[in-house]
């Protein structure tokens, strides 16, 4: 149980570290994606019950997993996908304009 939290924590830190340290725009987007995936992992884990089945409230399904975090995870996936798409579109535009993916060569992103 603690291992999962640890894994999620490590993934989030790794993602944020990537965003801060890298100079490559695509890698920044990858860093953000890692953070988002870690969050979805956490969401699924929050709702997890050992031995639980799918959340169908019917006879024979006594122990079910918590359905709320799964609904949240779906929403989070949609939001994550749209932000990533927007970011990648921006990276394409930036690349076309500056002919580079290096942050330090793009004027305003420095610092």
């Amino acid at each position: 149980m603690e291992t999962t939290y640890l894994a999620v924590g490590i993934l989030i830190c790794l993602g944020i570290y990537t965003v801060i340290s890298t100079k490559n725009l695509i890698k920044m987007v990858i860093g953000i994606s890692i953070v988002e995936s870690a969050l979805i992992l956490l969401l699924i884990f929050v709702g997890y019950r050992p031995q639980g089945t799918v959340p169908i409230l019917d006879h024979g399904y006594d122990l079910v997993v918590d359905p709320v975090p799964q609904a949240l995870a779906l929403t989070a996936i949609v939001i994550g996908a749209s932000t990533t798409a927007l970011m990648l579109a921006l990276v394409v535009k930036l690349y076309k304009r500056y002919d580079t993916l290096d942050v330090s060569k793009i004027r305003k992103l420095r610092g």
Binding site: V35, L39, V46, M87, K108, L109
Partner: protein, 497 residues
């Protein structure tokens, strides 16, 4: 007798109905938008009037209040909803003339689609009583903002938006983690039920959740070390977006933060910890840094971006005091700042529209070419500085009084110092505006269009009106603390006793 959900649904329908309207006739587009915005404003006023008689709860889908996603309209939410809809109504009317079609003939529908989604997102943020719903609306408002900045495809807008996107996504992540931790420790997302169970949460976990919420919302409402996206984004964005973002966009995040600390954590938590002194110091740092940075700017939108950050500092000081007076002062400053910055950015938009004036040098001589717009701009700028008899003076005065009452003498001392600093750079702008110069109009120009000038003038004169007759807004704001300072009132309201 509209139900409150129409406040959110109508902008959504309008946004997605644009495509259908465009198929039938392009000429219908603008009347359709104006009509929808007007109906929306009427609906909001109707709901707000009823909410002031008795706070309203609306459960989506007719579910029981315990399980449903609720819309909670208490006095603070009503005031915010009214503010958002008034500002966005004026911005929509202004944008109908301001946004010009590009070659592909898609810019106008694209812009209004995003604008109406942004309005729906902000209204959802202030009305909702469900924590995850808050996150969803927060992201709707955020994602539409990123795209709105890019609408002109200017060269500089790409870098600014990328920075904004990174910061915004990280803020969303922080908030989602905080919401998850809340769910993990209380097992519910309904704000009132969380508030009931939150007292049992261990103190350390509470602090972690608080820090996550503060960082997450702080990025959006531009607390000082987290503000860096704002000055880069504003110069490249269209002026009506600046008005709506600075006026009410950042306030919606601020509102969400106020709601979280007062309802979830409650008055006892604020009183028993150092939260107030932390936030007061942070607010002072925020407005001092922002004023000093604003002083060095040449680009007007950048200058006003820093000025917006400074006002957030004042509001944070006022609302973190956790007194009746502080909340009223903070709420009044939220209202005032929305009106002042709305007027300033809309007037600045007219300068840019006709004269391409973007820096302090560019606006020389415009005081003669655009007398009414410049006068509005001056009114709003004087209110911004905090001179009597404008509304900015009153709310800053109330903040000082509230801070002194709670014993934060140093903070109260710094507020007039900040005002003096803002006096310096605003006077520089005004001096340039009224000095002689030969402005070169971009198009054949006689006088600005009424639909551009009227929204700015309305906002500018409302600054003066609220300064002279502050009774009505203050009476309305007097009711907000009832549901904030004592979270059991909010719990009783939402869960029905």
């Amino acid at each position: 007798m509209a139900s409150p959900i129409w406040l959110i649904i109508l902008p959504l329908i309008t946004a997605f109905g644009l495509g259908i309207v465009k198929i039938f006739s392009k000429k219908l587009l603008k009347p359709f938008l104006a009509l929808s915005a007007t109906i929306h404003l009427i609906l909001v006023i109707d709901v707000v009037i009823r909410a002031f008689e008795e706070p309203m709860i609306y459960s989506l889908g007719g579910w029981d209040r315990l399980f449903a996603i609720n819309l909670v309209i208490d006095p603070l939410a009503a005031i915010m909803a009214l503010l958002i809809s008034v500002i966005s109504y004026l911005v929509v009317i202004y944008s109908l003339s301001f946004i010009k079609e590009d070659k592909s003939k898609y810019r106008v529908p694209k812009y209004f689609l995003l604008l109406f989604l942004l309005i729906a997102g902000m209204l959802g943020m202030v009305l909702t009583g469900d924590l995850f719903n808050l996150y969803v609306f927060f992201e709707i408002a955020a994602i539409t903002s990123y795209a709105l900045v890019l609408i002109y495809k200017r060269d500089g807008s790409l870098e600014g938006t990328f920075k904004y996107l990174l910061a915004g996504t990280l803020s969303g992540v922080f908030i989602l983690v905080a919401i998850l931790l809340v769910y993990l420790s209380t097992g519910t997302l309904n704000m009132a039920r969380i508030a009931v169970k939150f007292a049992e949460v261990p103190g350390q976990l509470k602090s972690i959740i608080l820090i996550l919420f503060l960082t997450g919302f702080g990025i959006k409402f531009a607390l000082v070390p987290l503000h860096t996206w704002m000055p880069d984004v504003y110069p490249e964005a269209p002026a009506p977006y600046n008005a709506i973002s600075s006026g009410v966009g950042i306030k919606a995040s601020l509102y969400a933060f106020i709601r979280v600390i007062y309802v979830l954590f409650g008055f006892d938590f604020i009183a028993n910890t150092e939260l107030t002194s932390l936030l007061v110091v942070w607010g002072v740092i925020t407005f001092m840094v922002a004023h000093l940075m604003a002083y060095q700017q040449k680009n007007l939108k950048r200058l006003f971006a820093f000025s917006s950050i400074a006002q957030v500092g004042y509001i944070i000081i006022a609302v973190s005091l956790a007194t009746d007076k502080g909340l009223i002062a903070g709420g009044f400053h939220i209202v005032n700042h929305a009106l002042m910055k709305g007027a300033i950015f809309l007037a600045l938009g007219i300068f840019i529209y006709y004269f391409k004036a973007e820096t302090i040098e560019d606006i020389k001589g415009l005081g003669r070419s655009l007398p009414l717009t410049s006068f509005t701009f001056t009114l709003a700028a004087l209110a911004m500085i905090g001179l009597p008899p404008f509304n900015g003076f009153l709310s800053k005065w109330l903040i000082i009084e509230a801070a002194l009452e709670s014993g934060y003498t140093v903070a109260a001392f710094f507020i007039p110092v900040g005002s003096l600093l803002s006096l310096v750079y605003y006077l520089r702008v005004l001096q340039s505006l009224y000095s002689s110069g030969e402005p070169k109009p971009r198009v054949d120009f006689k006088r600005p269009r009424l639909s551009l000038e009227l929204p700015a003038v309305i906002l500018g004169f409302s600054c003066l009106l609220l300064g002279i007759f502050p009774r009505l807004p203050l009476d309305m704001l007097g009711q907000i603390s009832h549901y904030l300072l004592d979270s059991s009132n909010y719990i009783n309201l939402l869960l029905g006793g």
